[in-house]
Amino acid sequence: MSEYRIQGATGEWEVVIGLEVHAQVTSNAKLFSGAATAFGAEPNTQVSLVDAAMPGMLPVPNMECIRQAVRTGMAINAQINKWSRFDRKNYFYADLPQGYQISQLYHPIVGEGSIEIQLDDKNPESLKTIGIERIHVEQDAGKLMHDQHPTMSYVDLNRSGVALMEIVSRPDMRSPAEAGAYLSKLRTILRYVGSCDGNMDQGSMRADVNVSVRRVSDKPGGEPFGTRTETKNVNSVRFVMAVVEQEARRQVAVIEDGGTVVQETRLYDPERNETRSMRSKEDAHDYRYFPDPDLLPLELDDAFLEECRASLPELPDAKRHRYETALGLSAYNAGVLTADVETARWFEALLAETAAKAKKPEAEVAKQAANWLISELFGALNKLGKGLDNSPVTPAAGAELLALVTDGTISGSIAKQVLEKMLESGDGAAAIVEREGLKQTSDTGAIEAAIDGILAANADKVEQYKAGKEALFGFFVGQTMKAMQGKANPGVVNELLKKKLA
């Protein structure tokens, strides 16, 4: 249970949140026309006669969009409705050529489902299930451009008719963090499934945030929900969290000042970090929904559903569980590696290459690979302002480096230097080690000589060590490695030091 509370003047308040997420379906063509859907194209270059609503034009469902919605539904363990139907939502606006949006009000394609969120990566107790009421598919509208002419507005219909999934959650979230975690997790799932690219900055995914507040109460189930507001088109996880916080505070203030919250549509202004009223329920449209007579009900057969199911990849929760149980990774590492489909894909390529080079099962090299990826590569890439998607080091190159550590050719600390040089030059690890003479030595004679010198020079510390200050062992190791310019085999150094200090 969330402990997030708004401290009002008259007591504590709880916030209740539901999200309606619009996710653009990844498809080469629009929902009901053959027109293309590329982002950023010249205005009105991706428009068919259907999208422009020319007289006599008719919609024909694009089954790839339907397939993606079904796969998404399956990924959230939702009921897939084999019979669904399209409805018209009627309203006039210049970006809506037909005068209605084709949507699914009465019979959506996907019914009840849920996703699990974890608020604290290191605490398995922080799991929470968020209900999803439905997913339906619908058309996007075009875009008005107000800056092209002093007195007129222009219309770009490139987005008109593009397929959207509207993913409607239950009002199950109770804090900004939960709302943020839900949206992030949903985005992760969509990207795993490949049904939406999740690019919130390009508008491929945006959220309508429903917020209400109620007094904290001991009653079972709590107080009834308060009146909610809906803040439209919020386009980042951070903004969603901000909207929840601002809106909850605003509503508490309204109520405590003796006012009532008005059911209305609001807009978020990130510049001023506040929400503003857009229109109230009184001037809400009457959308006159009715079944679209141009389209037959959508009936899906078992073979289609089977194909959808078979095409689903391993999903984040399952992958994370497998990383922990089968690969023995920590919960934290498993969480980091599965949070994004690209990271998981990169990690699995690295793991396969590493295991092949070591001729060992993946489970035996998984920790090494995971630790290196998370503690070494991420940090190094970060410094360069890069990510895995444009990393100069490939999974195979990373595996080559790890193999050099495993077979004792180089030490872990040398591996850090080699990685830096790999990132700079793009050369392979073995070539760099060879060229720079970084191969570590297991020559006991040379190491012994170095140790002898160090012990002699630090007789006082040897005394202290022998008197029980065992922590000094690390100091001797460090000094020895330094003397060997990092190229001594740490195993051999340890062994010899122990012998000599015995």
Binding site: P55, V60, N90, F92, A94, S153, D294, L295
Partner: protein
């Protein structure tokens, strides 16, 4: 030699194929007839003599080259101005689309051109196909070529395909396309003494046909006789992946399978159609039809279609509901009329454009449709109407377990005079009483001329068939046609 313009589809096609006359001669003759009649009848919104000649020249060239000719080769036709024709103005008889030239060709018209037909012009109609008399056209009323004997009062050609019916009846086009939403092919065919068939919903693609009520709109053929209708419908019909409601079925060889022998067939006579106070001439023509089909060997069976009386109100909820949404796209933003008063905003532009662009009947139906879909009224009207529609369709399904076709009158009267009913929309709507039930059920139905009433005006008989059984409808209609021996023609006064 016979006058070419007296000929129908089969005769023209066969004459062209045999070389009795060239397709160009045919097109030239009809172009001249159209031009001569246009000022009096106003059947066309635009005429396209060059299109007719162009298609004819191609047919003549193909014939000279020994290439195979299409089933409509050399036949110039009238195209109802509800079908989008590439590069030729397409208006739905509304000011809101005046000047609109589509960049695309409707599937049905393309199929006709592919079969060798040519276009004489775009035929006038009731605005957005809403009307039963052609009085709602924004481009002036079509005048029926028929007149009551000794009376020059202009008569309605029926509607909405009134340009089509007038042109075929006046022999200025051998055939014409029509569309039928609640009777718009059958009623005008009956009013003008020609044949017209509305096939099963989904037989003809709606792609490129300006929409009135999507779940009801269906294209069909209007011609001299049953055979010509069969030939033309065969050319028009067929699955179209661009129309989701199109039937994915092969088109049967209706023409080759025509057979007027009704032995072993049962004809249903629904008692609910025998209305209180029915016009005695209409009642008599119905009885004639029953006798003719009996003579053709059919067994006559009285049947019941109990929900018939709800068909008209049901239709006048569903059709306007769909229309109110379908016509939302005429907003002045992208094409057609735009009325932008000084300093106007978007809402003002919508209001001004639609006020100026739509006629009164279109506005009335948009208002009715908007009302029945509104929150609070939706269930009482639209949902209820859909339920009744299901019951009406079920009536037919039950009846067709016992009978092969159903015979009823096409319309409750012969053609009325212009202005006679236009003051009272309800009285005008009543004209659809016999045609609307088959539309709601999506069934094939055909009107054939049965005779003249006491005013010397044509009356039609309507054959309604099972879904997908256009053949049964055509065959029973042929049996009627052979016995009716209808040969009356309007006396040329134009």
């Amino acid at each position: 030699m016979t006058n070419i313009t007296d000929l129908g589809i089969a005769a023209i096609r066969d004459g062209v194929a045999k070389g009795t006359f060239s397709a160009t001669e045919v097109a030239t003759a009809f172009n001249a007839a159209v031009e001569a009649a246009q000022p009096a009848l106003n059947a066309f919104i635009v005429t396209t003599p060059e299109k007719a000649l162009e298609a004819a020249a191609k047919v003549d060239a193909d014939r000279a080259a020994g290439k195979p000719l299409g089933t409509m080769a050399g036949v110039p036709i009238g195209m109802k101005d509800l079908f989008a024709t590439k590069g030729t103005q397409t208006t739905a008889a509304s000011k809101i689309l005046e000047g609109f030239k589509p960049q695309y060709e409707s599937t049905v018209s393309q199929k006709l051109w592919d079969a060798g037909a040519g276009m004489l012009g775009k035929l006038n109609l009731d605005q957005f196909a809403m009307g039963s008399s052609n009085e709602t056209s924004a481009f002036g009323n079509v005048i029926s070529p028929w007149r009551r004997p000794g009376d020059t009062a202009p008569l309605a050609p029926g509607g909405s395909s009134g340009g089509s019916s007038a042109a075929v009846a006046a022999r200025i086009a051998p055939a014409a396309t029509g569309t039928d939403t609640g009777g718009s092919i059958r009623q005008p065919a009956a009013f003008t003494g020609i044949s017209g068939i509305k096939p099963t919903y989904g037989r003809c693609s709606r792609w490129g046909v300006v929409a009135f009520a999507s779940s009801l709109d269906q294209a069909g053929a209007m011609a001299h006789d049953v055979t010509d209708c069969a030939i033309m419908l065969e050319a028009m019909a067929g699955f179209d992946p661009k129309d989701s409601t199109s039937l994915n079925l092969p088109v049967p060889e209706w023409t080759a399978s025509l057979n007027a022998d009704m032995r072993g067939k049962k004809v249903g006579i629904p008692r609910e159609y025998r209305l209180e106070g029915m016009d005695p001439d209409v009642a008599k023509s119905w009885d004639d039809g029953i006798a003719w089909l009996k003579d053709a060997g059919a067994e006559i069976v009285e049947i019941s279609l109990p929900h018939t009386k709800y068909a008209l109100p049901t239709y006048y909820i569903i059709a306007p509901a769909e229309a109110s949404s379908n016509l939302a796209r005429y907003d002045g933003v992208r094409y057609g009329l735009r009325d932008l008063p000084d300093g106007a905003g978007l809402q003002d532009m919508y209001a001004a454009t639609r006020a100026a662009g739509f006629g009164p009947e279109v506005k009335r139906r948009i208002m009715i449709g908007t009302y029945v879909l509104s929150a609070g009224f939706y269930d009482a009207y639209y949902t209820q109407a859909q339920k009744v529609r299901t019951l009406i369709a079920r009536d037919f399904t039950n009846a067709f377990m016992d009978v092969d076709v159903i015979l009823v009158p096409t319309a409750p009267s012969s053609a009325f005079a212009l202005g006679e009913k236009s003051a009272d929309p309800l009285e005008m709507y009543l004209n659809d009483v016999f045609s609307v039930p088959a539309s709601l059920a999506g069934l094939p139905a055909m009107s054939v001329p049965a005779g003249l009433d006491r005013n010397g005006l044509p009356l039609g008989l309507q054959v309604i068939g099972k879904a997908f059984d256009e053949q049964g409808v055509l065959n029973a209609s042929l049996a009627l046609e052979q016995r009716a021996q209808f040969s009356a023609r309007p006396e040329k006064w134009w």
